[in-house]
C-alpha cells in the first residue's frame, strides 16, 4: 500500500472515527483517503478551512470521547500548535501526524527531519510535551497506530507521529491491524456527553485545580513515559565499536549503510529511537565507553537536532559526531555511506 493510505487505514482499524485535515503536500493523500473511508465506517470526515480549524475540529470531536486524528506537514503543524497546547491543557487526547517537509518557511516538499525540536521539545506555547513516535517503515507505522491512540487516551494528552514525505509516499507490503470496534463513547468517564444524571464535566484549558498541581501532574506523566513507554530498535550493540543513531527515513538508510560498513570488518551497532519523546536515553547511557569509540548521529536536517538528546544521554562519556543532510535534500544510500565513512576516516576509525 501507499504510505499515507496504509497509515490512514491503520488508524481506522484501531478505532479512529473522526478525521479533519487540510490539503498540504506531502500528506494530502491522508485526508483524501479519510474522506472516502470515514463514511464507510460511520465516522466523520471534515476538510477544515485552515490547519487551525482542522485541529480545533479534532479538539471538539475528541472532547466527546471519539478517537480523532489530524494530519499535516511542518508549516501546517506550526499553525496547529496553538490547539495542541490547548489539547494538552484541557486533557483531551488526539493523534497528530506530521509528514515533515523541507524548511524553514515553505521550504520544499522533500522528505526532511527539521521538525524534531518543534514536535519533541515545544509543540506549542506553555511548556507541555507530547509523546512522539518515529517509525521508519510502513509496517512500523501501522503497528504503532494502535499504541499511539491507546497512550493518547490513557494519558489524555496529544500524541504526535513524526513522519516525512518519503514514508508517506513509499509503497510497501504491510500487515494491517485487525478491524477493532470503535470505542464506546458512552462508557467514557471524562468526555462531554451532557450531564444528565451526573455532575457537569468541564474540559478547560487552564489551571485546574492550580498551576502547581498541574505542573506536578504533567511532570509525573513525563517521568512515567521515560520509565515505561520508551520504544527503540537496537542492533549489534554488544560488541559495537561504532554506534549509528537516526530515526525515520534516515534510519532506513542507516540500516543498509551499517550492513556495508560491517562488510569492511567494522563492528557497527544501531540505536534507532521509535519514540523520540520519551527518548531512549538508557540505550545510550548503557553503552560502554571502553568499547564504543564513537556515536554517529545521522539526521536529514542541519544543524542536527536529535544530536542534542544523544549528547545529553551520553553525558560526555563517548564522542558524538553528526552527519547533517540539509533540510530539503533527500539523501541517497551512497550520500550517507560516504558521509559516515568520511567521519570515521576523520576520527581514524576503520575496519579490518
Amino acid at each position: 500500500m501507499e504510505g499515507c493510505e496504509a497509515i490512514a487505514e491503520a488508524a481506522v482499524r484501531v478505532g479512529c472515527r473522526f478525521f479533519a485535515g487540510y490539503p498540504i503536500t506531502p500528506q494530502t493523500e491522508v485526508p483524501e483517503y479519510m474522506s472516502r473511508r470515514m463514511p464507510e465506517v460511520g465516522g466523520v470526515f471534515l476538510q477544515g478551512e485552515s490547519e487551525i480549524a482542522a485541529i480545533n475540529m479534532v479538539y471538539g470531536a475528541a472532547a466527546t470521547g471519539t478517537y480523532a486524528m489530524t494530519s499535516s506537514s511542518s508549516i501546517g503543524i506550526a499553525l496547529k500548535t496553538e490547539c495542541i497546547s490547548y489539547l494538552a491543557a484541557a486533557h483531551i487526547p488526539a493523534v497528530i501526524l506530521n509528514f515533515q517537509r523541507g524548511g524553514p518557511g515553505i521550504g520544499n516538499i522533500t522528505a526532511s527531519q527539521s521538525d524534531y525540536w518543534q514536535c519533541v521539545k515545544g509543540p506549542g506555547s506553555g511548556g507541555h510535551r507530547c509523546m512522539v513516535f518515529s517509525p521508519s517503515t510502513l509496517q512500523e507505522c501501522v503497528d504503532i497506530m494502535g499504541t499511539a491512540f491507546e497512550r493518547s487516551q490513557r494519558d489524555r494528552n496529544p500524541v504526535i507521529i513524526l513522519l516525512d514525505g518519503c514514508i508517506g509516499n513509499i509503497r510497501e507490503a504491510v500487515e494491517l491491524p485487525d478491524m477493532r470496534p470503535a470505542p464506546d463513547i458512552d462508557a467514557s468517564d471524562w468526555c462531554l456527553s451532557g450531564c444528565e444524571g451526573r455532575s457537569p464535566r468541564q474540559l478547560l484549558p487552564y489551571f485546574r485545580p492550580d498551576p502547581k498541581t498541574c505542573a506536578e501532574q504533567a511532570c509525573a506523566m513525563y517521568e512515567r513515559w521515560q520509565k515505561e513507554d520508551v520504544l527503540v530498535f537496537e542492533e549489534a550493540l554488544a560488541d559495537a565499536e561504532v554506534v549509528l543513531t537516526s530515526y525515520g527515513t534516515a534510519g532506513r538508510i542507516v540500516n543498509s549503510c551499517a550492513r556495508r560498513l560491517r562488510d569492511t570488518g567494522l563492528r557497527v551497532g544501531i540505536i534507532r529511537p521509535l519514540t523520540l519523546n520519551p527518548f531512549p536515553a538508557a540505550s545510550f547511557s548503557g553503552l560502554d565507553p571502553a568499547a564504543v569509540k564513537l556515536v554517529i548521529d545521522v539526521e536529514m536536517t542541519k544543524p542536527a537536532q536529535m544530536a542534542e538528546d544523544v549528547r545529553l544521554a551520553l553525558n560526555g562519556r563517548i564522542p558524538v559526531k553528526s552527519l547533517e543532510i540539509p533540510s530539503g535534500v533527500l539523501p541517497t544510500d551512497e550520500d550517507i555511506y560516504e558521509g559516515i565513512s568520511a567521519i570515521l576516516q576523520g576520527e581514524g576509525i576503520h575496519g579490518i
Binding site: N56, G60, Y86, S193, G194, P200, Q202
Partner: protein, 249 residues
C-alpha cells in the same frame, strides 16, 4: 401558608456571584440562555463551548458539560462536538473580538457549511477583557485604546456587520440581532435564543444570534449611560431584527 415560585435562578446556572463588571449585560445573556435550556428541558443534554475574552467567565456559571476553545476557534470546536454527538444541544458563546476578529475565518466557514449549532454573539463593540482595544465592530468615532479617541474609517475601515455578512451565505437557517438595552428588547432576545435552540433540536441547522451589549468599563460610561449608548449609537448602525427565519417558524 403556601408560596408559589414566580421567579428563581435557572437550574442551568451555578450559585456563584458573577464577576462581570457592574452593569455588564453578559450576566443577563447568560441567564437568558440558562432559562431557555431549562424551559426546553435540555440542561442535562447540552454541551457549551466558551471562548477567550470576558465571555469565558460564563464557564464559571453554567451547570452543563462544557469546554473552552482557543481564541476565535469556538465554532470549529462546537461543530464537531455536534457531529460526534448529534443528539446533544451544542452552542458557542463568543464576544466580538473573538468571533469577528481572530475567529472571523472559523465563524464564516462554520456558517457557510450550515453546521447544526447555535452561535450566540455578544457584540459590545470593543475588546473587553484586555482593556478597551478597538474591535472590528467598534463604531466610527468611538474611542478605544488602540484606535485613539475616534475610530477613523479612512485608516481602519468600517465596523463589521456580522449578521449581514452571514446573511450572504445560503446554508444558515436563522440569523437575528437583538439588543440588551431594555426589557422589551431582552424579551425579544430570549425568544430568539429559544428559536435557535429549537431549530437545532429539530435538526434544522446553523443559527446566529447577535446580542448588542454593553461595556461600561471600557466605554467609560455609567451602566445606565451604556444602555443609552446602545440605543443611540449601536442600534442605528446595527439594526435589530430577524434577518432570516425558517418558514416553519
Amino acid at each position: 401558608m403556601e408560596f408559589e415560585y414566580i421567579y428563581k435562578k435557572p437550574s442551568a446556572l451555578t450559585s456563584k456571584a458573577n464577576s462581570y463588571c457592574p452593569g455588564c449585560m453578559h450576566s443577563t445573556a447568560n441567564k437568558l440562555i440558562a432559562e431557555v435550556l431549562e424551559e426546553l428541558d435540555m440542561v442535562g443534554k447540552t454541551i457549551a463551548v466558551f471562548p477567550v475574552g470576558c465571555a469565558v467567565l460564563s464557564a464559571d456559571y453554567f451547570l452543563t458539560d462544557m469546554t473552552i476553545a482557543a481564541h476565535g476557534r469556538a465554532p470549529s470546536v462546537a461543530c464537531d462536538i455536534k457531529r460526534c454527538r448529534p443528539d446533544k444541544l451544542v452552542f458557542a458563546y463568543q464576544g466580538d473580538g473573538d468571533l469577528s476578529s481572530i475567529g472571523m475565518c472559523e465563524t464564516i466557514h462554520t456558517a457557510n457549511r450550515g453546521e447544526n449549532i447555535a452561535v450566540i454573539f455578544i457584540n459590545n463593540a470593543i475588546f473587553g477583557m484586555t482593556g478597551g482595544q478597538m474591535a472590528p465592530t467598534t463604531l466610527v468615532g468611538q474611542a478605544s485604546t488602540t484606535g485613539g479617541k475616534s475610530r477613523n474609517p479612512d485608516d481602519v475601515g468600517y465596523p463589521v456587520k456580522m449578521c449581514e455578512l452571514i446573511n450572504q451565505f445560503k446554508a444558515p437557517k436563522y440569523i437575528a440581532r437583538f439588543a440588551m438595552d431594555s426589557v422589551p428588547h431582552i424579551r425579544d432576545a430570549k425568544k430568539g435564543i429559544r428559536k435557535a435552540f429549537e431549530l437545532q433540536l429539530n435538526g434544522g441547522g446553523y443559527s446566529f444570534v447577535e446580542l448588542i451589549s454593553n461595556c461600561s468599563t471600557n466605554w467609560k460610561t455609567t451602566p445606565l449611560q451604556s444602555l443609552e449608548f446602545i440605543r443611540e449609537k449601536m442600534i442605528p448602525y446595527y439594526p435589530l431584527g430577524e434577518f432570516r427565519v425558517p418558514e416553519e417558524m
